[in-house]
Symmetry: C2
Subunit: 421 residues, 2 copies
Amino acid sequence: MPTTSLPRGVAIIGAGMSKFGAFPEKNSRDLFVEAYKDLLASVEKGFDPRQIESFYLGNFSSDLFEHQAHMAPLLADAVGLTPIPAARVENACASGATALRQGVMAIASGMADAVLVGGAEKMTNLPTADVTDTLAAAADMAFEISAGFTFPGFYAAIATAYMAKYGMKPEHLMNVALKNHENGALNPNAQFGVTIQKWMEGRVAAALKKGKPAPTWQTVMDFLHDDSANPMVAWPLRLFDCSPITDGASALLLVPADRAKDYTDTPIYITGSGQASDSALHDRADLTALPAAQRAAAQAYQMAGVTARDIRIAEVHDCFTIAEVVATEDLGFFAPGEGYRAAEDGVTARDGAKPINTSGGLKSKGHPVGASGVAQAVEVFKQMRGQAGARQVSGDVPLALTHNVGATGSTCLVHIYERKD
Amino acid sequence: MPTTSLPRGVAIIGAGMSKFGAFPEKNSRDLFVEAYKDLLASVEKGFDPRQIESFYLGNFSSDLFEHQAHMAPLLADAVGLTPIPAARVENACASGATALRQGVMAIASGMADAVLVGGAEKMTNLPTADVTDTLAAAADMAFEISAGFTFPGFYAAIATAYMAKYGMKPEHLMNVALKNHENGALNPNAQFGVTIQKWMEGRVAAALKKGKPAPTWQTVMDFLHDDSANPMVAWPLRLFDCSPITDGASALLLVPADRAKDYTDTPIYITGSGQASDSALHDRADLTALPAAQRAAAQAYQMAGVTARDIRIAEVHDCFTIAEVVATEDLGFFAPGEGYRAAEDGVTARDGAKPINTSGGLKSKGHPVGASGVAQAVEVFKQMRGQAGARQVSGDVPLALTHNVGATGSTCLVHIYERKD
């Protein structure tokens, strides 16, 4: 895709998602139908689905999670879109944004006039060890997993490199978790609709109810430093530094910019799209930044004709707390080594100068892998239209950004969104 | 994609493939590097790979076959293309053609000026029962596989429905197998480089060598009717009605038509692309045709401005012999119920009026699932340029077609190729 402006404007006119969480009785098909219905309901002036010309689905590994491949025509059929062309796109945890990019290209190029972009993943039916093993397939099996790495280990390596270079302490990362759970507690679709403070209070109440001695945590930071409450996963990352295992689906409806107002008074325009690949983590000189994210961001900013400073809010790929810190630097929001301080100082809070992950992020909203990249766009769509309910940021949101990472940055995508009234 | 002509011409300037077969010591990465090197060597005037702007990979389920997902950036890195955007596209056995279609769209729309399209699958490392189980994930697990179907059973159902409707006998299908092995025996990259006649002679020689009584087959049809030589898999389909389990990779290089002659004197133009989805087989009224193939063909013909009659050769998706018969009818080469007679009468032979699967097809060349759709284009590229060696058809090949099917037709794609001198 050229890094200059898109040949034709692209607008999102509808966005939807299922509730994220653990739903033993639902498969990807059920979840996607929920997201699709939510999407159709979001188009105020109505939209005849028979206008949809093609469907791109972001999905990481329904193969391993559900033993069901070839998911795109199945899901198209489930929502009544047969016989349109349907294709699954896979780029690990960046599958959703990769699907979105295909949709953006199809509209921008004039190849289609209405494209459905979806994401879905059903993860919680497998035992946790098998989920870890499945997620590991997103890394380089031959040179990384065979050496003993899993994803918490990868991001722990990134965190330790970052700590060594910039002097960050493990407790700094807890600011990211606290913030994202604060936001997620206000998102009715989030997997964890509760702050860490409430979580702690719940643990105390449960202990008292069972007649056990109440834990002695005085503050939420005490709670987060308690090995029994917040166990170490891969030093320096504890349980609350990690995003959860989640079932969920998400969906977006794209049309050409010049037709968007037929369906809604407040379309959200996609004005920038960047994507880059990289070698796997084991083959990189520096672990404290993701070059593919920097490159994707540069492309997207150039295409949209904006800078990092112009972005009002962003949803970034916080699969682990350290990933959010690095992302906010890769995107140019903060200088290298300053991202963790921005989280500490409240700059990235919902009422801060640069709100990050108002949805709760992967950390609290949940991370159904293939759905996450598309769900990021659902959040900015809602925030930009003033429809984010209790977690709505104050003031206008004329420009927003989403940042989606595959594995440890072998794939990165950045998209930029604009509201033009 | 509009069904009118493409907004910008698309040309293939290079095509390559690995040898297809069973290679215990090679993984998808090794196989794709072979295909990519073969591709680069095919561009007579040379091509600087640094011009490649994006990469689409067709792959069915490296997840289940190799426990390796996120294959697109890994393969891009293996051939030195980091940091270009890379994406895996999955549509079961039509993954290859789906990847090709994304490449065609990227060039035709002006979104890119050089796109690498690849296909890869590494299947033979799993036990056969696990391969069958993995392939089953391409069907509808909830409503088909749970009822006891596997792919030989699906295509056996199609064959019996076809026999009941049109009076075909099981032995008619053997004409397809005989022809495709005749062709594959002339293809140095084919998994089975041997005719069924030679195969039979080899079995006789082996028996005599071991001092056992020689089999009493008088003709190759005796051999094909012998339950020990050609066992029943799912009535009426026998072993030689089924395509094999294969390791392999394939690759194509696409550029805008108006730049193609910078790299080769004989580019091959892609002038038509069609794709359709369908409900799974259990949900269709008629089993004797694939509506998605008919629809994809109609789109591709309209876009290219040609008819079935104009097509000189075609590579069709012969995962089973009956699939080739049905394909030749769905594509409009023969009337419904006439496809099996065309095979019997030699019309589809290499020296017939409508040569089908000169490469040997999936049946004899092999069927590394995600690579097959791209390898079909490799074959027509070679035939149209007069570079198909011993299996070269006589006379010019100004127009050719490829037909790639996912599962039992939940996905179908058709592409049309033109040589313009």
